[in-house]
Symmetry: C2
């Protein structure tokens, strides 16, 4: 079976690890969000791609969910001693090496997709990881504070401000002119099913879908999503702040409607949301807390099973 999954950071990466365990025979292609990529200290940092790579490659800081296990922060401290900022982004020494290799390859002319493949040569994540695009797409957030109304990089809002200042709007700058990275559309077209892990529906899945061509290619497939919202609150992270910014209620139903009838075929919600109904979408309640690897694999298995069921039903029609 060929599966394509879109993925943001921590939630997506953990779901993917469960998916790999649940369907070890499947050929899994992961299309990673690059909208929250950022250049820091002249180095290109791809937080979501790295979280997926480290998580599936066994190098992740399990407790934190991002960054490397056993990390040290000598370089960051030294940069601070030079007065070089920002200090609010937690780059560790091990992690720095990834960004140094990436930046060197990008400067040498390699595309981000080729660089990601090269980095994965080391990590062997057991999936094919492709960035959504090789073009630069940057998620910006419009906020209003004592300095007035202004757009800041998503990471500044997310990491430095911890989404504490309301986002007036969120935009994936550059998305309209971007092209899917080589292999993205081919993987979707060749997929048996497409899965949306419980990643942020606005700044992760939403950004990937904003790359022209990806949404249409996915719409032609059997798509099952896993709700990132349980009982009116995000399972983790601050998806509620992102949903509010785009005028969408923080609920499992509203997120399914956001993805839309034309895109989503099945929707796994938590038992807390067992009463959710969405016209035209098959909603299935089950425990959705990814509390440990087994529970996560069971959720992934359920998503695959629902997708296969819906695909067969569609084919039988």
């Amino acid at each position: 079976m060929k599966i394509v999954a879109l993925a943001g950071g921590i939630g997506g990466a953990r779901f993917l690890r469960g998916l790999r365990a649940a369907v070890p025979e499947a050929e899994i292609t992961v299309i990673g969000n690059t909208g929250d990529d950022i250049s820091l200290f002249g180095l290109r940092v791809c937080p979501d791609l790295d979280t997926v790579m480290y998580t599936l490659g066994g190098g992740i800081d399990e407790e934190q969910g991002w960054g490397r296990a056993g990390e040290t922060f000598t370089v960051k401290e030294e940069l601070g001693a030079y007065g070089a900022g920002p200090g609010w982004f937690g780059l560790g020494d091990r992690d720095f090496a990834t960004h140094i290799v990436r930046t060197q390859m990008l400067a040498a002319g390699y595309k981000l997709s080729a660089v990601t493949e090269a980095l994965c040569d080391r990590w062997k994540p057991g999936v094919r990881l492709i960035p959504m695009t090789d073009d630069q797409v940057e998620t910006h957030v419009v906020i209003e504070d004592e300095r007035g109304r202004r757009a800041i990089h998503f990471q500044e809002w997310w990491v430095r401000l911890r989404a504490s200042v309301p986002a007036l709007s969120i935009a994936a700058v550059g998305a309209e002119e971007s092209k899917p990275a080589p292999g993205v559309l081919e993987a979707i077209e060749g997929a048996d099913v497409v899965l949306f892990p419980p990643s942020n529906p606005v700044v992760s899945i939403g950004t990937i879908l904003a790359v022209p061509g990806i949404r249409d290619a996915i719409a032609a497939k059997t798509v099952v999503g896993v709700s990132p919202i349980i009982g009116g609150a995000p399972v983790r992270g601050m998806a509620d702040a992102c949903l509010t910014a785009i005028g969408v209620e923080t609920s499992a139903r509203a997120v399914a409607e956001l993805y839309g009838l034309g895109l989503l075929d099945g929707w796994l919600v938590d038992e807390a949301d067992a009463d959710v109904r969405v016209e035209g979408i098959e909603v299935r309640p089950r425990p959705l807390l990814m509390s440990d690897p087994d529970a996560t694999a069971a959720i992934a298995r359920a998503a695959v099973d629902l997708a296969v069921e819906l695909k067969r039903a569609e084919e039988a029609r």
Copy 2:
């Protein structure tokens, strides 16, 4: 008193520390060699400038003579895990931060001289440190091995091969087209005396003198050098291999003659070389082993004293 000193790496840096201690009231400008600068992992590394900066700023690994004290090598190990090379150049985590800041500033359009000044804002070396040029000058070494005759970067010959393969020739590529960095000629012109520390006469002092304009400016001054050769052998490093490459004997006399009558006014040699005479150059024997800070300061003091004596004699004529 205003002093200008040319400097390579370890020997030059230690001499400068002695000089600063010997004449604390002096205004010292150091013109640093950049010929052995190298780009590694996409980062710009300036070994000689950093050795001077770390040594005078109190951050040097005292035993090793280069790199940072208390250094760790996490980034380097991780780069190795990605298969990124070279592994033969010892970049530590603390040191990496310097190269990251430098590279980011260079990419932003700052010249190396401005970058060096910014880095020194942290280290406060107590001297003004200026790179010899803001232009790219790279010392290349022609060798002949099983792969045939070829030119390699100085660092590859020096660090990887430890100068074990004979250098057929040594060239400062780009030197002819380079210009002295802002402040270099002004500092020389305004100097009371110019000192040549016991740095490598070929690839350190020689390279600085190869930048058009610097040699002539220095020739107009009272110049005293400290021999890097004691009793026919370099005090440290592999200056003999460099001298052999350019057809010069490894002796205190030959190095003085290499600098030349028009340039050098005084020459401190070790007591082992007390019989050295060079036509037109005032040669003074004294202990030259920089065995500890006090001994080093005494050598620096002797160099300054000789320079002042020669300058007064010149003025009296």
